[in-house]
């Protein structure tokens, strides 16, 4: 192409482009540590996310031990946790710390940074046809802020008074007063500072994702030709960019309350017989600010999983995704509604009942776009020639979990029912199935599907199938019974249920759940082993398009360098879902439209 076509002021990209084939000074540091290549940054996010997932998962196993075997002692726990488990029994304070850290780690560090960070970074430039992100520099900073945030959160685990322990939602006054719990002394400050760094990271990432999708698409890649992964990652980024700053403002006010004596959230509080001077604050205010992020956040976690599952289901059904525009439209509707339903987490806060019913209506409306998506996934699968690759299994598992967990959301969305169900194990079951496990399935689907593109090798299939079956069966065995526990009133976040007669009936069930949790955790370690083993020793990819997929990432070399395409970026001539068309199994996006080609 002539130099006249080169954008004069886009110096960054042009120079980048001219040099990418012969990087002169690529050292270990610039290639693996301070890399500006979106693919390497994606892998950094993924590996950091995996490490966090192991830590967060291990925490849940430890506190499940307490719930499953409240009478038992485990001497090895004392070796592991020191005075937090003196005599081999977890202390109540540390139980809360573990629950809080489990939630924080899984929600933010794994399913937000680990999921969006990995796949938005990896897939956006590759699938829209760009050499890199709009600003590789900000992108690198995004990872390093996440890293910094991770280090701070990790250090907080070693504070003598323990890490934050007021729940992942850090409601004041518990989180605002050091007198309220040991975790609220220093641990909470670490939590807040770490999350502030995290938010900066999420914002820098989000800005880049949005700009890259809107500005850096290759020729012919109109918005309606974008793969659904990109649409989902786009809405995810928009949600993040608009909601994380609100959490930041809430966190700033909390920092002031904690350290500078203000009373944004505090009023009329008596601690150990002593009346605190704070007047005029409102703890509910924090809940509004928190859930204004918190609810969009659950969709920040879910949408990437939806997008990747859509893509993987279509590829492995060898059929176009059913209702592409409806899929985009429902993502859009979900993204809008996500901002309008936050108070469904606050039905029992004394919310004005009229306002409450408005939120009930808006909440239940989410069922409509959700049902559209489910319908379209099922119709795509319907009578398809399905290839049950591990990625496909996890994508189908995602659909199953989303249905199961979405249905219980409709129970909770009715304020009348929620008065009973709020803060019980029913909520725990709901959000673990629909968000926790479902998004993990989306993430696993993505890893199994794009691993060959990331590392030029395949994961081991036998281990993958064991991983899948143990995880899906185990997840249902763990979380399904919790619905019954919740319905009979068993509250979440309790350290020990054995002293309540009404909950004693569940002691066997609790033990069973804890037992399954350990097995499922072990299966995840198998995945981790498979991941790192296959990275170096897996079967090599020999076909640049092993799944026979249409999207652009498969037009790059098997191990693409910085810049992604050695030659020109391919031009796009069609949408991403031309499967089983005109007798052809698939037609990649860069294939020009033939004269005699039918309209789908």
């Amino acid at each position: 192409m002539s130099s006249a076509a080169t954008l004069q002021h886009a110096d960054v990209h042009v120079s980048h482009d001219a040099h990418h084939e012969h990087h002169h000074h690529e050292t270990f540091i610039t290639k693996y540590v301070f890399s500006q290549d979106h693919k390497m940054i994606a892998k950094q996010f993924l590996v950091t996310g995996i490490i966090w997932a192991i830590i967060g998962g291990l925490f849940s196993v430890i506190f499940r031990l307490q719930l499953g075997y409240p009478e038992a002692t485990f001497p090895w726990l004392e070796d592991l946790l020191g005075h937090w488990a003196a005599g081999g029994k977890l202390k109540p304070e540390f139980y809360y710390a573990l629950v809080t850290m489990h939630g924080t780690i899984l929600v933010f560090f794994v399913l937000t940074a680990g999921l969006s960070g990995t796949f938005a970074n990896f897939l956006i430039p590759l699938q829209v046809g760009a050499r890199d992100m709009a600003s590789p520099m900000l992108n690198m900073l995004s990872y390093w802020f996440f890293f910094l945030s991770s280090i701070i959160m990790f250090c907080s685990l070693f504070i003598q008074t323990g890490p934050a322990s007021g729940g992942w939602t850090i409601y004041p006054p518990l989180s605002a007063l050091g007198d309220a719990s040991t975790g609220s002394i220093l641990g909470m400050d670490f939590w807040l500072v770490s999350m502030a760094m995290f938010i900066v990271s999420a914002l820098l990432g989000g800005l880049n994702y949005i700009t890259t999708i809107l500005n850096m698409r290759t020729k012919g890649m109109s918005m309606t030709r974008l793969p659904l992964t990109i649409w989902a990652l786009f809405f995810t980024a928009v949600l993040g960019v608009l909601s994380f700053p609100v959490l930041l403002s809430g966190a700033i006010l909390l920092l002031f309350d904690r350290n500078l004596g203000t009373s944004f959230y505090l009023s009329d509080i008596v601690v150990a017989g002593k009346i605190l001077p704070n007047e005029g604050g409102s703890a509910i205010l924090f809940q509004h600010l928190f859930w204004f992020l918190g609810h969009p956040e659950v969709y920040i976690i879910l949408l990437p999983a939806m997008g990747m599952s859509s893509e993987i289901i279509s590829v492995n059904s060898r059929k176009p995704i059913f209702g592409y525009m409806a899929m985009v439209g429902s993502l859009f509707a979900i993204a809008i509604l996500a901002f309008l339903v936050w108070a469904h987490h606050m039905f029992v806060t004394g919310l004005n009942p009229f306002l409450g019913s408005v939120f009930v209506l808006l909440t239940l409306l989410i069922a409509v776009p959700s049902a559209i998506k489910v319908f379209n996934w099922l119709t795509t699968l319907w009578r398809a020639n399905i290839r049950f690759t591990p990625g496909m299994l996890f994508a189908i598992g995602f659909v199953s979990l989303f249905i199961s967990g979405g249905l219980t959301g409709i129970f909770l969305g009715n304020s009348a029912l929620d008065l009973h169900l709020h803060d019980t194990y029913f909520v725990v079951a709901h959000f673990h199935i629909v968000m926790g496990v479902a998004s993990f399935f989306g993430m696993f689907a993505g890893v199994y599907h794009w691993f060959p593109k990331m590392f030029g090798r395949y994961l081991n299939n036998t281990m993958a199938y064991i991983h899948f079956w143990v995880t899906i069966v185990g997840a249902y065995l763990i979380f399904w019974p919790m619905h019954y526990q919740g319905l009979s009133g068993m509250p979440r976040r309790y350290y020990d249920f054995s002293s309540w007669i009404s909950f004693n009936q569940f002691s066997g069930l609790n033990e069973f759940i804890s037992f399954v949790a350990m097995i499922v955790f072990a299966a995840q370690l198998l995945f981790v082993f498979n991941f790192f083993y296959s990275m170096f020793k897996g079967r090599k990819v020999t076909d640049s398009n092993p799944w026979g997929a249409n999207t652009l990432e498969w037009t790059t070399p098997i191990n693409p360098g910085h810049g992604n395409w050695p030659g020109e970026i391919p031009e796009v001539h069609r949408g991403a879902y031309d499967y089983a068309k005109d007798g052809k199994e698939f037609i990649p996006q860069d294939v020009p439209v033939g004269d005699d080609e039918s309209k789908h």
């Binding site: 709009a134 600003s135 700009t211 850096m216 700053p245 007047e279 005029g280 970026i569």
Partner: protein
């Protein structure tokens, strides 16, 4: 070979676009704070107070600085580098003045017992105004970078994107301040 295709040429420069999205994000933060303010105001124990005179001086300073940076951008594009340099310096000085006036305003308030912790309404004012000032400080750092570039003999850049970016951001903090000022006057 080019990365930027014909289609991309028509679009806004990616860095500018990023800045606009970032501005949207920052607006959400202030929207969060100001709506929290409104919610709190409707509850008990809310005391009103008058904003200090110095806030008006700072308003004048920041509006002027918006004008000077606008002129600086224009001068840069016309390659009038001498004029550009002096306008960047003027903007920088006005920006510093803004911060100084804000601090003096805080001092005035403090002297009138309007302290950080005495009432929630005061706390809100300090946090909101202070957070805005922090964003102005960020802008000042960007201006200092521009300033260093403009006076460095080694780099001769005629790329106007950095200048436009800083100028857009600077107008943003200016408009944000005017919004916050009106907000704090009307809603108390």
């Amino acid at each position: 070979m080019s990365t930027v295709t014909m289609e991309q040429r028509k679009r806004i420069h990616p860095h500018k676009f990023t800045l606009w999205v970032g501005i949207g994000s920052l607006l959400m933060m202030f929207a969060g704070l100001t709506s929290a303010y409104i919610v709190k105001r409707n509850q008990a124990n809310w005391q009103t107070f008058d904003l200090p005179q110095f806030f008006w001086y700072s308003t004048v300073a920041i509006i002027l600085s918006s004008v000077t940076i606008y002129l600086a951008e224009k001068a840069f594009k016309q390659r009038m580098m001498q004029k550009y340099r002096s306008l960047v310096v003027t903007t920088l000085v006005l920006g510093i003045l803004f911060i100084v006036f804000q601090l003096l305003g805080f001092q005035q308030l403090w002297a009138k017992q309007v302290t950080l912790t005495a009432n929630v309404s005061y706390s809100f004012m300090y946090v909101i105004v202070g957070l805005h000032a922090a964003h102005v400080l960020g802008g000042l750092i960007a201006l200092i970078v521009l300033f260093a570039k403009a006076f460095s003999v080694k780099t001769r850049s005629y790329n106007s994107v950095p200048v436009e970016l800083v100028s857009t951001y600077w107008h943003f903090v200016d408009v944000l301040w005017i919004y916050l000022l009106i907000f704090l006057i009307l809603i108390r």
